[in-house]
């Protein structure tokens, strides 16, 4: 099922309250952001092609592997991830095309998007960016089945949910770090982002996905993550992932009852049970992807 409201671009008008507070420099940031979304694919053309091919029904692991092969750094990431404990085949994956088979197209696409957004060199101000992103991804993937969504989708969206932060640092290098530093926890950060730009970084992430030809429903789901009210199950899975990752990484984070986040589908006890395995798996991936 698809919600009637589409991803609407970066026009800072999701609500009347936000519109007024956006100043001129913020508008300029959004403009730069929009330009960046246009420019980045040209800078990583292989990644852009990989993204396009993952959505093409005619693609298979072999053809995708062939394309991927033109970007050795991205290939290495896919291979390392395929050999992580998460996919259960530790150490057995040698060929890129097989690695794609193992991690699935969705994850390959996410890695390509991450590469395109320049996440390989995460800005220093984004403290423990990959740790948080992978905790979110793993947790969202683990909870996916409970919510009736595909784990690979949840995993890849979880991984890219913070993508917008990197883009904001890139396009607003003066103010965004300050915004980050001032925010006590994720909630505060989202509020600050909304105040300054009229959008949250999650929303920016969603826009990037939409701009880069990610499947619409994934981008759409991501745009719902930090929006109040009902959300598609995939967005709920990412919410759970974000919540767990913040609980693990950020001691200042005030836990939000997971029952509220999931309309009662997931209970606190389940989240607690996930905590350790998620932490272990994510740590393994962080090591593989950032080394």
């Amino acid at each position: 099922m698809r919600a009637t409201e589409p991803v609407t671009g970066l026009s800072p008008a999701p609500g009347p309250a936000a519109t007024s507070s956006v100043d001129d420099s913020a508008v300029a940031v959004l403009g730069r952001l929009s330009a960046a979304l246009d420019d980045l694919p040209a800078q990583r053309p292989v990644a852009a092609r990989v993204i396009a091919e993952t959505d093409d029904v005619r693609s298979d692991a072999r053809s995708l592997g062939h394309t991927l092969g033109f970007d050795p750094a991205l290939t290495a990431k896919v291979l390392r991830l395929a050999n992580s404990a998460y996919f259960g085949l530790s150490g057995r994956v040698g060929a890129p095309s097989f690695a794609i088979t193992v991690v699935g197209f969705a994850t390959v696409r996410s890695l390509a998007v991450a590469a395109m957004a320049g996440l390989e060199d995460t800005p220093a101000v984004l403290e423990s960016f990959w740790e948080r992103s992978l905790l979110t991804a793993v947790a969202a993937g683990e909870i996916a089945a409970r919510l009736g969504v595909k784990a690979p989708d949840a995993f890849s969206l979880g991984m890219l949910s913070r993508l917008g932060q990197a883009l904001l640092v890139r396009c607003d290098p003066e103010h965004y770090p300050a915004l980050l530093a001032a925010a006590g926890d994720r909630e505060e950060l989202l509020e600050a982002e909304n105040r300054r730009y009229g959008v949250t970084h999650t929303r920016v992430s969603a826009e990037a996905l939409a701009a880069w030809s990610f499947p619409e429903d994934l981008a759409h789901a991501l745009s719902q993550v930090d929006r109040a009210g009902w959300a598609v199950p995939l967005a709920v899975a990412v919410r759970v992932g974000l919540e767990l990752s913040e609980r693990i990484v950020d001691p200042a984070h005030t836990p939000r009852p997971v029952e509220h986040l999931t309309s009662g589908h997931v209970r606190e006890a389940e989240l607690d049970a996930l905590r350790l395995p998620v932490q272990r798996t994510a740590a393994d991936m962080v090591r593989l992807l950032t080394s």
Partner: protein
């Protein structure tokens, strides 16, 4: 990216191409409308339809002409919002399609912005896609584009919805099926991570289903199996259907054997996953392994059976054939020992089969203790055991092993409160190089056992080349003998039985079978009669001799009647084995042959050994009494060598006793006096016994005048032996008869009395050698 496709292509587009594209869209199944709104951004202006194709008109139930200039939100609710139509890129959103009939239908729209400056025809020009003159040049209307932003709206077809609904339904059916299937089923959507497991799988492992999602299920694969399982998963993800037997650990710690069958499944846009069924085969395997055990083991002793033994030997042969020991002169010294219990039948018959089984179990246990780890003890059947032993590098090692085996069997066994002492014969064969078929090995070992048994049992025999040669020759002889019997190619020789006197009158003849092998020459009668007994040829042999002997006697009688011969024997004696005697139809056979030859039963004497009589006294008595009543005479052959008791001797239906040659020989060799010592007393006792019972006495093996004199003095009725004549061919006997039918004793004579006899008679001193009791004397019998 889509924008790229639109941008910059239209400027120099040939009008024919635009017309063709327009025609395609106009005639296509996909509902398409083109909308525009003023570009100056006045928010109050709503997008209006500028063109619609026939499919869109059909969907909305309004003629294409009437759609033009309508606000798009009038027919596609939700498509008019400023937020859904973007300049930057295509958007996809849900709308309600409102038809003229008033119904609303949820569908989706993809909106493609038309880049500014694109040389498209002015949409108003295209009022009716079906009827518009397509070739019209659009360039002239170009200015109409200015000030308007255009979008092309593709409306999802209802049939697309149906297709996806059908797919969803199929998916749900599959999910329901898998969920309720009794076969444990798992579904991966990526890598080894499971997205779905059914209840049966969760039940198999005894845990809630959701703990098995992701890689959780791998925790139930035991460490030592994990590599194989992961490899199988890798294979299936690579597109190969795979199956493997492995184990899974239940929550309660119990290990279950399962068969994992994995089939690849590929979801476009997701990559590869798999669907697998996990069949619990623990019970089946247990049953199969039980059956396999039973197929390979002797159920009484638990030892490997014949099949397992043959497989073991085959494996050893295969191993040995591989040149692993290059440069090593001798083989690895593998020996096959066949252990055959001596007299086991006695135990079985005497104490019952249960006792026999107990003995076998005990022997099996002891034999198993005598061998080392890599060695094998098998029971191929009956009272036979086979050991396959390694490291029999030299004769000493073979001897030590064989000795150990014999000792193990010889130790007393307690059964039913009785202490039994068993014996065994052991045949040993060393694995030759190159190794032959296992069956041949076992046959060779059986030959060695037979040799050991023939040598008296309780010993072991290695099958060396000499033994093997003998055995091969034996097999050849049996085959040739069978053929000779079938062809009637056996000769009959006659040894005269005389009444004492000077000269001695020939009163009867004993018919003796002789065989001249076409290649080996004359074959020792002891040898081939033994072979005949082993190969069930005795009856045929006996029948042949009786027929020939009766024919010859009839001819001699005819010769006398015709005046050609002055004398003919009063009877012909033929030997009858116990087998022949107890065969059904024996008496009738004799009567028929006698009648066929035109003779009387009184012309025939049946010679039966004491042992044969003792074997089945009652049956023998019935048969023999019947024949005796009609005049046949019966002689007890080899009297004194058996163990028949004097008590029933008086009941035997016999007419003569034939004193065994061993008593006669001792009369000759005794040093206690000129006329024998204790031997004479024995002979005297036999003769006197016969007299008491009213039986006639025939002495066999008379070779010297001294023996002759003693026997005559003791009162023997008839004499038979080299002193008078060796067994001779029929024509040589005819010469004797022609000469009057009398013989003079010739003590030192190396050749038979007859001048022609030596040529066709068997090899040298057959009848002079004392015959062991176990080997039957040459004889012939009617059948």
């Amino acid at each position: 990216m889509e924008l790229e496709a639109w941008r910059g292509r239209g400027d120099d587009l040939h009008p024919g191409v635009s017309a063709a594209l327009l025609h395609l869209v106009g005639a296509g199944d996909q509902p398409v409308v083109v909308v525009s709104r003023p570009a100056d951004g006045l928010p109050v202006e709503v997008p209006r339809i500028r063109w619609a194709n026939a499919a869109a008109a059909d969907l909305l139930g309004v003629a294409a002409d009437h759609l033009v200039d309508l606000a798009v939100s009038r027919v596609l609710r939700g498509a008019g919002a400023a937020s859904v139509l973007l300049h930057e890129r295509s958007t996809r959103f849900a709308v309600q399609a409102l038809t003229s009939a008033g119904s609303a239908r949820s569908t989706e729209v993809v909106a493609w912005p038309v880049p500014l400056g694109t040389a498209l025809s002015r949409p108003t020009h295209l009022r009716s896609a079906g009827a518009a003159p397509l070739g019209e040049r659009p360039g002239s209307e170009r200015t109409a584009l200015e000030g308007e932003d255009y979008w092309v709206l593709q409306i999802a077809l209802p049939s697309d919805e149906r297709t996806s609904a059908t797919l969803r339904a199929a998916e749900e059916r599959f999910a329901t099926l898998a969920q309720s299937s009794p076969v444990p089923t798992i579904v991966s959507d990526v890598g080894a991570r499971l997205s779905h497991v059914n209840d049966a799988f969760a039940e198999l492992l005894g845990v809630p289903a959701d703990t098995l999602h992701g890689t959780g299920w791998l925790a139930h694969v035991p460490e030592e199996e994990r590599a194989a399982v992961v490899q199988a998963v890798a294979d299936v993800l690579d597109g190969h259907r795979t199956a493997l037997d492995t184990r899974l650990c239940r929550a309660d710690g119990q290990l279950r054997w399962v068969q994992l069958r994995l089939a690849p499944s590929r979801t476009p846009g997701y990559g590869a996953g798999f669907i697998a069924t996990v069949e619990d085969v623990t019970e089946r395997l247990a049953r199969e392994s039980r059956l396999a055990y039973q197929a390979q083991h002797d159920l009484l002793t638990g030892l490997p059976n014949r099949l397992a033994l043959l497989e073991h030997l085959s494996a050893l042969s295969a191993q040995q054939e591989r040149p692993t020991r290059a440069g090593h002169g001798s083989g690895p010294g593998i020996g096959v020992l066949v252990v055959d219990l001596d007299d086991f039948k006695t135990v079985n018959d005497g104490l019952g089969p249960e006792a026999g089984d107990e003995v076998l179990v005990e022997v099996a246990r002891r034999l198993s203790r005598t061998v080392r780890g890599a060695d094998l003890v098998a029971r191929p059947g009956g009272d036979e055991f086979v050991l396959v032993c390694h490291d029999l590098v030299d004769a000493d090692a073979v001897a030590a092993t064989a000795r150990r085996v014999l000792d193990a069997v010889l130790a007393p066994v307690d059964v039913n409160g009785l202490r039994l002492r068993l014996g065994a014969s052991v045949g040993v064969v060393l694995l030759p190089e190159p190794p032959g078929p296992p069956e041949e090995l076992l046959r060779d070992a059986a030959i060695a056992v037979a040799e050991a048994k023939a040598a008296g049992g309780g010993r072991w025999q290695v099958l060396d080349d000499a033994v093997r040669r003998t055995a091969r020759r034996t097999l050849r002889l049996i085959a040739d003998l069978r053929e000779a019997v079938a062809r009637g190619a056996l000769d009959v020789a006659y040894q005269p039985v005389v009444q004492p006197g000077r000269p001695a009158e020939v009163v009867g003849v004993e018919a003796l079978v002789r065989w001249r092998h076409p290649e080996f020459g004359p074959v020792d009668p002891q040898t081939f009669v033994g072979l005949a007994e082993r190969s069930n040829l005795v009856a045929a042999l006996d029948a042949h001799v009786l027929t020939v002997a009766l024919r010859d006697l009839a001819r001699w009688r005819a010769g006398v009647a015709a005046g050609d011969l002055p004398h003919a024997p009063r009877w012909v004696a033929v030997n009858v084995s116990a087998t022949t005697l107890s065969a059904p139809g024996f008496a009738e056979g004799v009567r028929r042959r006698v009648a066929d030859a035109g003779l009387q039963l009184a012309d025939v004497c049946l010679e039966v050994t004491e042992t044969a009589l003792a074997t089945d006294l009652l049956a023998c008595r019935t048969v023999l009494e019947g024949l005796r009543a009609d005049g046949i005479t019966v002689a007890v052959d080899d009297f004194g060598t058996g163990f028949s008791s004097l008590a029933y001797l008086k009941d035997l239906p016999v007419d003569h006793l034939k004193v065994d040659r061993s008593f006669v020989r001792d009369l000759h060799s005794s040093g206690d006096g000129p006329r024998g010592g204790p031997a004479r007393a024995v002979a005297a006792a036999v003769v006197s016994l016969a007299r008491t019972l009213g039986l006639g006495v025939v002495a066999e093996g008379v070779e010297t005048l001294e023996q002759d004199a003693v026997l005559v003095e003791l009162g023997c009725d008839y004499l038979q032996g080299y002193l008078y004549s060796r067994p001779v061919p029929a024509d040589a006997l005819v010469e004797v008869l022609r000469a009057g039918g009398t013989l003079q004793p010739q003590p030192a004579a190396p050749a038979p009395v007859s001048p022609v006899g030596s040529a066709s008679v068997g090899p040298a001193p057959v009848s002079s050698a004392p015959r062991p009791a176990t080997v039957p004397a040459p004889r012939q019998v009617p059948a």
